[in-house]
Structures are given as C-alpha cells and as structure tokens.
Amino acid sequence: MIEIVDAGPFNTIQDLGRPGYRNIGVTASGAMDPLALKIANLLVGNDEGDAAIEVQTFPFRLRFREATVFAVTGGGDATLDGVALPPWWMQTAGAGQCLELRPSPSARAYIAFGGGVDVPPVMGSRSTSLRGAFGGIDGRFLKKDDTLRLGEPAGTLPVDGLGAVPPAKALAAFFPNAPDGTLLIRALPAGEHDLFGADAERFWSQSWKISSQSDRTGYRLSGEPVRAPASVEMRSYGIVPGVVQVPPGGEPIVQMSDANTAGGYPKIAGVVEADLWRLGQARIGSRLRFVRSSHAEARTLDRALADYVEDVRNTSQMVARALKTIAGR
C-alpha cells in the first residue's frame, strides 16, 4: 500500500493506455513517455505495461506502508528519506520510508512498484482519462491522502539497487539534439502540408517554443505563425498523438496522449511515433524543431527503441540471476 503524502494537480495513474476505442470516441490516454514507463516496470520485474504513477507536478511525496520495490524513471530528482537516488533507478523501500520527487530537466517522472498499481481496469486499461472521468482513481488526478493498493509482485529482482542507462544516453546516436539544446523531433508531412505553400518551409526551419498552454492533451507552440494562403475546409478525421495541426491563428498544436479522437484543423505534419517519448518529456518553455523524416528512418528508430527495451529486460534479469549465484557461493 502506498500513501500519497503531497501531490499537486495533474499527477495520474497511467499505463500504456487504451488504444482501440477511438472509433467510439475514447481517447487512448496512457503515459506521455511510454518508454520511461516500460523501463520503470521492467526494473521492478513487472510487465512493461503495468500501471504506474505519472508525476508532472512537483514536488510529489509518497510513503510506503510496507517494504516495496519501486523504480523512478524519466524525470524527477528522487530522494528516499532524504537520500538521493540515481536517475532511472530501482530500489527497495522499507515500511514508512518516504519518496520525494523534485523537478528535473525532464517534464515527467514515472514511479513503478513491484506488482503495479492495482486500480480496476476500465476498457482494458488502468490509465486515468481526466476528460472522460474514468480510469485510474475515478478518472481524477491523485491527491493528498490517497492510498493505492499494489498488485502481487511477480518476478521482483532480488537485488537492492539497479538502474538503466537513461535512453537519452544509451540511444544518443539515434535521438540527437541540436548543439544549442533544441529538441529535434522527426516528423513526416501530413495531409495539408503542401497547402501551406512557402509557409510550410518556415514550419520546418524555425524553432518553436512550447507554450504554457500545454498539457497531456496537447502542446501549443509559439513562433512565427504559418498560414495556408486559402482557407482549408476539413471534414472531421481521426487523429493520433503527434499530429501537428494548425488552427487559423497559425501557431501549431501537437496533440498528445489525452487528445480528442477526432479533429478538424488542417494538419501540417505528424511526429514519428518513436519520437513521441521525447516530446512527452519536453518542458513548457523549451524549444523544439521539426526535422523531416522518412518511414525508413522511423523504422530504424523503432528498432533502436525495441532493442533498448529488450536489453534492459534481459540484462536486468541476467544480472539479478548472476548476483544471486554470487551471493550463494
């Protein structure tokens, strides 16, 4: 059992979401950084898609009612009873110990627990749908004094302290940033791209700032507006996270995990799926630039991510077995 000691708004229970219901208007939701969620789960011996806490408002504090294996990945500077934990780290907490997360350069932290957060699945997922008001705890964000039950830990690794090389480091060759720190996000032109004429090039060439009107629903970008010369008439179409739409004002919106299932603004680009986790960690006020990609490159990135996840899964198990053998000597 976990007790929430201190929580600002918008921290929610998330897993990998509930895709498959867009055709009845249900947003997939799910972790904004699914890669961090998977790694947190693997480090505690869970299935990669088990439910965890997504923290995006700091500081965040929780107390362990009993000894619990947990991992913190993504962002968030974590301390356990005041002792700092390395980033992307798994540890065992004793009963009564308090975990605190403070802000870090990444926007969102994931806290996974051995056995996963046990809330009733709704439509195949434990993810909180704030808009739909279901999933997680009654479809709302976590608040002080909430208690969370945990599932039965399945294959908890019998080691105290284990981490993953953060993907930004492990996969630096595949996910580069600009020298000035601007996030480079790979995208493909979408349906109305060419209607923006000369403005389309400015969409790619300039760096956009993530405005304060950004959340799990989507990011509003500020910069020099891009506009189509003629008004573009759209019929409502299904959308996915990563679609970059341009409302009449000319400042793009990138739809994210809690986006509506349908939209009607002209779409200028679509972020390749393998880069969504990085977008999910981008903070308000930071800058990004879109880089034209290809299906071939997207497949290369998909494979790099899959290999990394597999490596963490297999190596953490192997390391745990080896340590057990050594301890038994």
């Binding site: 980033p87 992307w88 080691v159 981490g163 993953a164 492990a170 490596d311 190596t315 080896a322 050594i326």
Partner: protein, 142 residues
C-alpha cells in the same frame, strides 16, 4: 609480493592459469595492507577467476577494497550525472554509492560496505572490470 598489482586483469589471469595448471583451487596472498584470495573454478575453465579481498592484516592501516559486484564497465559517475563525483580523499558512509558497473544498458551500484575515508580509486572510468576487482580503497574508521 608487494609489487604485484591485483587490479591488473593480466596479473590475475596469469596467476589463475598458473593455479589451474598446478591443479589447485585457489591461493591467498598477503600484502602489507590486505589479504587477497584468488579462486579458480575447476568446472568452468576459462571463466573469470574470483578475486576476493579479505581482511587487512592487523596492525597496518585499516584499508578495505571496494570491489566490483559483477563483471562490466566501471564508471565512478552515473551517465546522467552533470558533474563528476568528488575525488578521494573524502568521507563516505556505509551503503553510499561510489560508482557504477555497466552491463549492457543496466547499471549496478558499487557501494561502500562500511563508513570510512575514501582514500584511493583503483579503476579508471571506462575500464572493463571482473567480478571482485578492487575499484576503491577505503580507510576504515578505527
């Protein structure tokens, strides 16, 4: 014997081969500051030998080696750490993480087992280390 460097994998490999050739399981070697035990596995020829640092000899400065918990790549700093950890000498507490062993994409902590003064760093960042290789030296509090 004091000239023998037990942090050198080549030395260990040489000794292990010699032990294996001689048909013995292991050897204990005393140096002024500590005692090292090298154990070869008969069932697994070619496997990395087990190197354990035992207690330091009485009377001498109480030194303890912090050894690699597993074979891998040593680094005193976490890959995400913006600044290098402070170099020895410095005070460390029991259980304090002194560095990391990287195995693939997984990191294992190298922890001080007892409190004391971190006096030396034996392994270099990026070094490939074997299980039991000494990484740090700690002068124990009396």
């Amino acid at each position: 014997m004091s000239a023998v460097d037990f942090s050198d994998p080549a030395t260990i490999a040489f000794l292990a081969a010699a032990l294996q050739a001689a048909g013995v399981d292991g050897i204990e070697i005393e140096q002024p500051a500590r005692k090292v035990r090298i154990v070869v596995e008969r069932d697994a020829p070619g496997a990395a030998p087990l190197v354990q640092t035992l207690q330091t000899s009485p009377g001498a400065t109480q030194l303890e080696a912090v050894t690699a918990p597993m074979a891998g790549i040593f680094d005193a700093n976490h890959p995400d750490s913006p600044a290098p950890s402070s170099e020895p000498p410095r005070e460390v507490g029991a259980g304090e993480t002194l560095g990391f062993i990287r195995v693939g994409s997984v990191l294992l902590p190298v922890k001080a087992s007892r409190p004391g003064m971190l006096t030396g760093r034996v392994a270099k960042d990026g070094a490939v280390v074997g299980y039991g290789d000494p990484l740090f030296e700690i002068e124990l509090r009396p």
